[in-house]
Symmetry: D2
Subunit: 462 residues, 4 copies
Amino acid sequence: MRNLRSAWNELADTLVDTVRAAQGEAIDPALPDAAAERVRAQMRECLAGTGGEVSARARAAALGRTYLSLDPGGRERFLRILAVEFDCDRAAVDAAVVQLNAATGPEERRGAEARLRRALEAPRRRLLTQFNALPEGVKFLVDMRAELLELSADDPSLAALESDLKGLLAAWFDIGFLELKRIGWDSSAAVLEKLIEYEAVHEIRGWDDLRNRLDSDRRCFAFFHPRMPNEPLIFVEVALTDGLAGNIQALLDPHAPLGDPRKANTAIFYSISNAQKGLGGISFGGFLIKRVVDELASEFDRLTNFATLSPIPGFRQWLTRQWSVDETQILNAADRRALADAAGVESGALAALLAREDWHRDPALSEVLRRPVMRLCARYLMQDKRDDGRASDPVANFHLSNGARMEQLNWLADTARKGIAQSAGLMINYLYRVEDIPRNHEAYVGNGEIPASAAMRALIKS
Amino acid sequence: MRNLRSAWNELADTLVDTVRAAQGEAIDPALPDAAAERVRAQMRECLAGTGGEVSARARAAALGRTYLSLDPGGRERFLRILAVEFDCDRAAVDAAVVQLNAATGPEERRGAEARLRRALEAPRRRLLTQFNALPEGVKFLVDMRAELLELSADDPSLAALESDLKGLLAAWFDIGFLELKRIGWDSSAAVLEKLIEYEAVHEIRGWDDLRNRLDSDRRCFAFFHPRMPNEPLIFVEVALTDGLAGNIQALLDPHAPLGDPRKANTAIFYSISNAQKGLGGISFGGFLIKRVVDELASEFDRLTNFATLSPIPGFRQWLTRQWSVDETQILNAADRRALADAAGVESGALAALLAREDWHRDPALSEVLRRPVMRLCARYLMQDKRDDGRASDPVANFHLSNGARMEQLNWLADTARKGIAQSAGLMINYLYRVEDIPRNHEAYVGNGEIPASAAMRALIKS
Amino acid sequence: MRNLRSAWNELADTLVDTVRAAQGEAIDPALPDAAAERVRAQMRECLAGTGGEVSARARAAALGRTYLSLDPGGRERFLRILAVEFDCDRAAVDAAVVQLNAATGPEERRGAEARLRRALEAPRRRLLTQFNALPEGVKFLVDMRAELLELSADDPSLAALESDLKGLLAAWFDIGFLELKRIGWDSSAAVLEKLIEYEAVHEIRGWDDLRNRLDSDRRCFAFFHPRMPNEPLIFVEVALTDGLAGNIQALLDPHAPLGDPRKANTAIFYSISNAQKGLGGISFGGFLIKRVVDELASEFDRLTNFATLSPIPGFRQWLTRQWSVDETQILNAADRRALADAAGVESGALAALLAREDWHRDPALSEVLRRPVMRLCARYLMQDKRDDGRASDPVANFHLSNGARMEQLNWLADTARKGIAQSAGLMINYLYRVEDIPRNHEAYVGNGEIPASAAMRALIKS
Amino acid sequence: MRNLRSAWNELADTLVDTVRAAQGEAIDPALPDAAAERVRAQMRECLAGTGGEVSARARAAALGRTYLSLDPGGRERFLRILAVEFDCDRAAVDAAVVQLNAATGPEERRGAEARLRRALEAPRRRLLTQFNALPEGVKFLVDMRAELLELSADDPSLAALESDLKGLLAAWFDIGFLELKRIGWDSSAAVLEKLIEYEAVHEIRGWDDLRNRLDSDRRCFAFFHPRMPNEPLIFVEVALTDGLAGNIQALLDPHAPLGDPRKANTAIFYSISNAQKGLGGISFGGFLIKRVVDELASEFDRLTNFATLSPIPGFRQWLTRQWSVDETQILNAADRRALADAAGVESGALAALLAREDWHRDPALSEVLRRPVMRLCARYLMQDKRDDGRASDPVANFHLSNGARMEQLNWLADTARKGIAQSAGLMINYLYRVEDIPRNHEAYVGNGEIPASAAMRALIKS
């Protein structure tokens, strides 16, 4: 059985060429009124379905290419036309509502509901589906949604279009359709360069750094979609270590000796990156972690711990808000004393010290800061909540929702500029214990409880 | 990059085992009241999402397995529970309708519509999506729909569930996700046995017959879905010939000499079978033909004709209806005379002759029948219309909708029992001329015109 | 990185066409003198290498196709020309021998040896290598050797050619180049039909029988060569059972309930077939067993026994030779008595009883035969040796050489016609215990000792 | 049919571990006498075959790993032991020679030859084959030969071992076993980094340069062997251009606009690199070019010219030898005058000018040099021959042997340091015209004629 390459895409190519030839001259990228009128007409034709389903698809593909040729302003106009002019037919909706109100008996009611449902389905949604006919059609729609997400923040008229597109993508990117793949040095360069591009947590500094992260004591896994074969959707980088790793620079050091993965007892998930902005709000992170834990457990018998080494992105901002209110509220007397001595000022000592460039390179200073900063961070992580009772730190919220618990806070764990700026160099290990995952999840999502190790809990009390 | 096998499926397996263990004893296949109560509770739990998304999926998978273990009566109860008890919340719908009616300004209206849309989305639809977590989840849903289609014919309360499922499947089986594959003797036995099972037009009589149909002067193509890798969705069998083939037995004769495909000028599509009942109403036949034409054209330079050799399934039934009214209406005097002489009766001669067993083996008799029967068949094909103006013969409607034209009617073209019974042994070639496809489609779908060759048109007039 | 299919083969095709066109009319299949002269000339041209290496290969490919077009007599003439006329140059050999004899000092000697080695290399060997350029070139040479093996039995002038070819194939089919693959219902029909064709031990009676042998409680493995992707070289069929299986009909019964392979503790290798006659004398059977044991052990944790259920092909013939000498020598008095009573004759009772059609269907008779026949068979297996001290039963010799031991003799284990005829229905289990393999091999190959279970040893003594 | 990964390799791993455990402590990398004694014993054991073929292989694999653990001196000792102590048995050879001399009649003679052939087969050759059992065994032997080639240059006692190994590799790397693959950006990083490492003509300066060479208007093809899947054996880089390309820096410029390959009429083979030193003397370059020409011709209809852009590695050295004899011999009066004026010296002007750093950046100077240097280079290429009548320039010899002709000499075609140093910046296009290849090959190899374009021939005469 031979797989005929890019089946549909090639069909689309041929047809698009035909359609294009028939459409005459190119569209102005800024989409001025005259051009907009032509685009509008094309949209209507796609929906009319004249010439058969195959031709309709080809027309949609040509329309998609027009979109790609537009400049930002032109795209916004294009999207607004789609959102507003191809919305559902209000008269039809109102008529269906009238019918619903008049329905008697369950059968009639059910029929009226079905009709109303259909009336509420905007034509733009059908048009969006047809863009799938573009070569790389799924990626096209994902990228279009990324643009829509930005635009719709300021323009509510685009929100309904964005919502239609999200619904479509959510169906297509159902977890059941995703493929977990291991990425390694034997993966294609076309995929590997995407890792370099998309890594969002600890920047990959070129091919040598990448190769080091794919060495025999490391693993990298990603979810892929069959229609976007070279595009990871979300990926996780894992180090196989002996015991919990508490320092990211040590973990990423290319000169560190190669570990023997067969002897490792711990898998450290040190970076998880969503790769597609256009899939925002469609979550598969929890599934990825669960699946990778299973893969690793089946490959390596000795692995018993599955933990992250995670950033704490919101800590320093929170801290700044705290001391801007009143530093005395957040520090006990002993700490205030020690900090003041070190800073040479009576008030605002903590802020002053953390403002010093390279404070973390001064061992004595770092020692003074250690206790109060770690305690404050533990408080931030475990006690600072959003209105809905969830942890306000987004990374904490992600892992706790997935059933992890807070395990260990690490001092001077990320001394890169970004790590110092975001979290005063602190990082945290979240621990995934397979048997505890449902209970942790329930406790957190149901009751807002934050599962944590004894050590973490002790930090707050101290 | 290594593809980790059946990623999600294995996860599902593990989780299902866990869930199953927790669920206690097995469900009674007939789903009596107590068992139904337990199933109802499970459905609610799936939707509640307690324990996290991963666990919810596992629970849905377990529920899906329960379904598979039920007997027909049990399944019907299961589906009815799902359809009726997990329908949308009427109070919520009514409230949303009130809001809609009260909305002023486009923004408010748009928001109200969105809320109403959400209110109309039945929980059962979300539950259906979750069944995707079953190993072979997509196939499970396709088969469930096949069962639903049968049940809902007699039970309108199931129709809305069927409609939800159709919507889901239509999104997943969008043409953009289908893969065209060539099937040959180097395909897996697991796929090939499906051809034997699913062939709906000219029965495949075992592995030798199959092998003959996959020989070097034949081609077979199918659409597949990435999540059902061993299941063809629709497949077409093609013979590469010199000129239009007009006899199916000759075409399928295992003792016929092997043709040289490089010298063929014609591709005969002699069998197209939909393989999945559960995808009924979700069409990709037109795309298949277009794609296969492209594949063949790019493989073989000399191919210039693309045509079918098709059954005419409704002809004999139609004919019976005709003569039961009045035979004189449908036959001219000369034909009536000749038929009466041959039959030895004055009235009802055509019916009498066609009722004779093996009339087609008697050359003289066959010659008498030829002219009148072919003329009547041409009339059936080209003039018998449904209320919507389409051809009443379903195969004709399929090919005309795809842009083909009627090319040639063939006498004694299918002398198998079924061919004689259905169409008095007649078959027809529909011709696909790439450049005429859109125009033909338009003429037929838009205006109910039936494109046909001069020879076909002449048949009627004669 | 895309694999450009059948790289060399396509090149060969093109070139062969060119060469063929230049060669003029076709060769007479019987290869009469004039045709033989043309073939001779072609052979010389191939070796001359005019037109470059690429053209020389093409010429060899054309010559190979000529061979394929010949009838049996023509092929024999072709091979004899190759064997005799393209042998090494005797004058050159003699000259090299003179140089060798004159050589003084190790360097000179070494040089002279190298020259002599080259002089002894027959041009026909180089020509054989060039046939590799044929599409399916390796299979061509394997099949050519199968023919040579038959012909050379009666014609020693062909033996040297056969030996050259064996040397070539032995290098190409080195175990390091073979790929172990699992064959299942998801294998291609093109491979599966080879199993049906090549199965040499227990005939496969069609696709249903085959499917049963590939079910989930069965395994089938084969060695393949990269250049013969659809041709198994040797394959083994395995049943996963609970305890040693002692009856082949029960094992192959399509109506037997499906076992759960996860619960099996024993892997029964019930059929091992060499598929390529042309690879005779190039052994990889031992490697296959070792590799399959490893595969199974890694797939199924509970497997602890690896054993065969093997035929005893030489037993009945041996038995006939024994009693034709003197039956009293091979039976003790009690057995003689019982057999005589059952047969109703005083002498030749064993022969008489075993000559009765369907003796094995008569329980009483079978019971009388059981003890003496099993004892005799054990004696045959363990005590009948070839001149080189190996077991004379070929299957026994194969497994003992591979390090197995004789484990259990099974009465009425194969009641198919062939089983009754060859071995009076007896079959034996050879047991492979991974830790004993080297010792068993050594004992057998080094000292002619036959490792056997206590039960087997007891059988002889009884 | 599932391919069980690295079949034999895994077996080897297991067995090697067993053997290693039994061998006791590790071998000293310098291989002093005691260690050498142990190695010698291991070699004997491998050949003795005790414990069965499987164990023998495992022992050879362990021995191979020992080799890998040795330092250069240790390896040399290891190889010398193998070469000298496992040479053929002289007494046996002498006895076979005596038998040969005594043989009467063709049958006896043939038998005696066969025995002599066997006697001349050194045991070391069999041992080399067994190393194939190492994981990566083929690559191991290729690399071992690379080392042997260096060592045997100074040590004739190793030459026979090297020759045995060459014979083995020549059989395994027969062109029939090689796979042509296209390499692109979708190839694995593991393969791509080999290109960077092995490129021998125009250095690849990192991943960006590589990516540029794999862009849509470029092609890269390589031969691979099934047992060395990540190791190209030889690869060629091709640019698709409009007309002959005459400047390598322009061709490799990453900022040059991307060409449209569909419109190109010329394929420029601008770099061909042998990747495996250990396969020296086993040629497949000619096949690669022929195959790539076919691939490109079938992908792109418009391609009509297939040519190289090649270095002229021996030109400057030859030129220096020429003028060191007598500059007046190689230059005509007019050129001598112009050069002397430019250099400001009467004699040795050409040498003086070419010795100036950056002469090629001075347009006036470059113009003075152009005519005489191009004429001299044409003379070098077309008239400077080796003793066997072949062109002395190695690149010229390669392409002429493959049937190309000299087409066009290009001034300032390679102004990189190496290009200036080797060939005064000149490069040449060799043209492959499919229909002329056999004739060109014949003319060159048979008669030492150098096929060249009219322009090239005119250059000499001028």
